[in-house]
Amino acid sequence: MTTAEISEHIGEHAPIGGNYLNQGKGIKSWLFTLDHKRIGLMYLISGLTMFFIGGMLAMVIRTQLLVPNGLIFHGSYEAYKHYNQVFTLHGIIMVFMVLVPIPPGALGNFVLPLMLGAKDVAFPRLNLLSYYLYITGAIMAVVSTLLGAVDTGWTFYTPFSIQTETYVVWMVLGIFLLGFSSILTGLNFIVTIHKLRAPGMKWFRMPMFVWASYATSIIQVAATPVLGVTLLLLVAERVMGVGIFNSALGGDPVLFQDFFWFYSHPAVYIMILPAMGIVGEIITVFSRKPIFGYKFIVMSSLAIALIGFVVWGHHLFVNGQSAEWDAIFSFMTFFVAVPSAVKVFNWLATMYKGAISLSTPMLYALSFIVLFTIGGFTGVILGALATNVVLHDTYFVVAHFHYVMMGGTIIAFIGGLHYWWPKMFGKMYNETLGRITCVMLFIGINLTFFPQFIVGAEGMPRRYATYLPQYQLYMIASTVGAYIQLAAFLLMAGYLIHSLVRGKKAPANPWGASTLDWSMASPPTTGNFQEMPVVTQGPYHYDDMEYDGRLGGFVHVDPVPALAGAGVEH
């Protein structure tokens, strides 16, 4: 049975026996669930909660910076220390609890087995364990915040992180657990992709998002252990006074920076690769055209994952690294631009002469391309040695990585959330509000972060609680942008929650996607597939389906001869 046949089949006949949301009742059936879809949903809820907290901290930062002397924290050492705590927590929450774990944890968990034609991930218990490690890590972070919020910045640079009196150890151990959770998720995905593909699902028949998740998982498994040992060393430093990173005891603080960025730079690609996978899926579906240059996109994902391991030194250009290494790391950094550009050009070529429909997910994908390109290009500027010396530790850096993280990862994640929302919950959201929100976010993000490029280029340092009056106009624009984003997110929360209660019932395949994740009813049953799929062609083919107004979704019309089988007579 092919994807479209199944979708047609189920689209017209309601599935028997409910779906994964109502098969199994009570709180225990959720807390001890081994179903990848339920675990994905729990990740989604936890992640959005953390995103809300991190976002509120960002609003505090932006509100503070409305006036040069600071609107909220001003006047005393203690007040400025609170500001440090706020931006530190914002960074830690967003990086370690939202950007790294949530795209794979929420969307990856939900979609990956569906796309592969598998009943679950390879190790369902491990999957649940990784969710609980995530929760425990998040709780430890909260505890450390209540005891004495960390003020080191999310990077924990020594020697300050050894000297500060805040609760670094709790926070760091929490992040160690989050890292462990991330490793287990990556390991689970790699084994799932290797061993649980449906019959006929060859490597080059896998959807983009699966490839992106595979590349992500490789980085998670290969880089996160190094973060683990770095954090353990930091704990040993604070608890035992080992001295490896402490120059007072003969150690070397710059070694910490090398260790830290050996993980944390590849971690940037953990954040962006799933986003790129999501965008690839959305663009092909809403252009009604198979993805252009499939293998190039696949290879570029793997190339980004591998090159990502040899660029960490670009964070240390002004930190006493030798000129030779500076040059090598700078060159490798430029090199990352190549696979990234391959992706962007292939997406554009996919859209070329396609029947583009500007639905909400597509608007997010297009926003991603624009914002990610701005973020990417400014990354090249920062990777150049001469400009880096000037721009290092200014708002230019802040603007750059927010364009990539917020404009890239978060926008793509939200786009993916809208794309798979009907599959996850079986409900359609309000399309008009969806489009309005996307436009608001696009305006809000540009208004927030573009002025920061300008003030950064003019020399405004990052992480300061106050600034010179000459930057105030830009800072006000930036804050207004942040409030527009807040409004957009609140509106989004409103119509998404509304859709759960009042939304139109979603058909099996509302967007006309040809990947296996749309081949079963929305939402799927606990076992995913009524009948195990057999794959006979690549992931993207749109000639064999058309829109059916009665269902509000797509149905299979003209089967390719090779695919003929049961269900054709429908």
Binding site: A118, K119, D120, V121, A122, F123, P124, L126, I183, L187, N188, I190, V191, H194, K195, L196, V221, A222, T224, P225, V226, G228, V229, T230, L232, L233, A236, M240, G241, V242, G243, I244, N246, L249, G250, G251, D252, L255, F259
Partner: protein, 287 residues
């Protein structure tokens, strides 16, 4: 009793036994076993990477301050370390034996082999724990806790290896890597750049004049305790896992069609062995 048990085990249908342990989302026991094995290897890869940070720290500090490592390593007892190695390697052998017994469905053999492996783990911890205790008593610790009562007298050091050390520790300390090269080179010191003549002209070259230990010896002990400590934690985890296997072996869970847990935990134990294989020469056998 055990004869009976293994007889029962071979009598029960292997397919039935494999089916009992097959999770719902796998199609065949083989697919399940292969998935588990791949997952285990990936996990062991992350274990190596976890240690790699420490190996990297070791490499960096040894490259920058070889004199610290040469000096401090003498505090460690290679004989004791060799015993640790022997015990651990033997337990690696008994672990491999346990896997074979599980594959063949020999319950008694499996139980004996697991018991011996666990004993090996405890033996390692005992020997190493005693070493830690001695080091604690002598204040051979990390950071500010390093203030040994027994200073390794430089004379003693030089007597132990008269050919290896040409200058004083403090001199080597000042010269860093280059000094190390001078001290270990057969080439006349003068041929090795600016540091050479300084050493050659210095009266401190004579053995009797060697006066003090190098700076920052505590760095070595920091790295030593972190590396061996993390390794010992892995040994303890291994013992817990082996005990779990032992309980299941007594319950007669394993046989020719289902021995994956024994196989996977055996792999883990092998990696724990292997990491020690690197730690022993790197820490104990520096001359």
């Amino acid at each position: 009793m055990s004869e009976n048990a293994s007889a029962t085990l071979t009598l029960s249908s292997p397919e039935e036994m494999a089916g009992r342990h097959l999770a719902h989302h796998f199609d065949t026991p083989q697919q399940q076993f292969d998935s588990g094995k791949l997952g285990m290897w990936l996990f062991l890869g992350t274990e190596f990477l976890l240690f790699s940070g420490l190996f990297c720290a070791y490499a960096v500090y040894r490259m920058l301050h070889p004199q610290i490592f040469i000096y401090a390593s003498r505090y460690l007892d290679p004989v004791s370390g060799a015993f640790c190695t022997l015990v651990l390697v033997t337990s690696g052998f008994t672990m491999a034996w346990a896997i074979r017994c599980a594959q063949l469905g020999k319950r008694t053999g499996l139980i004996i082999a697991l018991l011996l492996t666990i004993a090996g783990g405890f033996g390692f911890l005992a020997i190493h724990g005693y070493e830690y205790f001695e080091e604690y008593q002598q204040h051979l610790m990390w950071g500010t806790n390093y203030h040994p009562a027994v200073d390794l007298s430089p004379t003693q050091t030089v007597v132990a290896k008269p050919k290896a050390v040409g200058g004083s520790w403090s001199q080597l300390d000042a010269l860093g890597h280059q000094g190390y090269l001078v001290a270990h080179s057969n080439i006349a010191p003068a041929a090795i750049g600016p540091a050479g003549p300084a050493l050659a002209q210095s009266p401190a070259v004579s053995v009797a004049a060697v006066a003090s230990q190098p700076n920052n010896v505590q760095i070595f002990f920091g790295i030593y305790f972190l590396m061996t400590g993390l390794h010992s934690i892995h040994v303890i985890v291994g013992i817990i896992l082996l005990t779990y296997l032992l309980v299941r072996a007594i319950r007669n869970d394993f046989g020719p069609c289902y021995y994956a847990p024994v196989d996977f935990i055996g792999l883990y134990w092998g990696v724990v062995d292997m990491i020690w294989m690197f730690l022993f020469p790197l820490l104990y056998l520096i001359r």
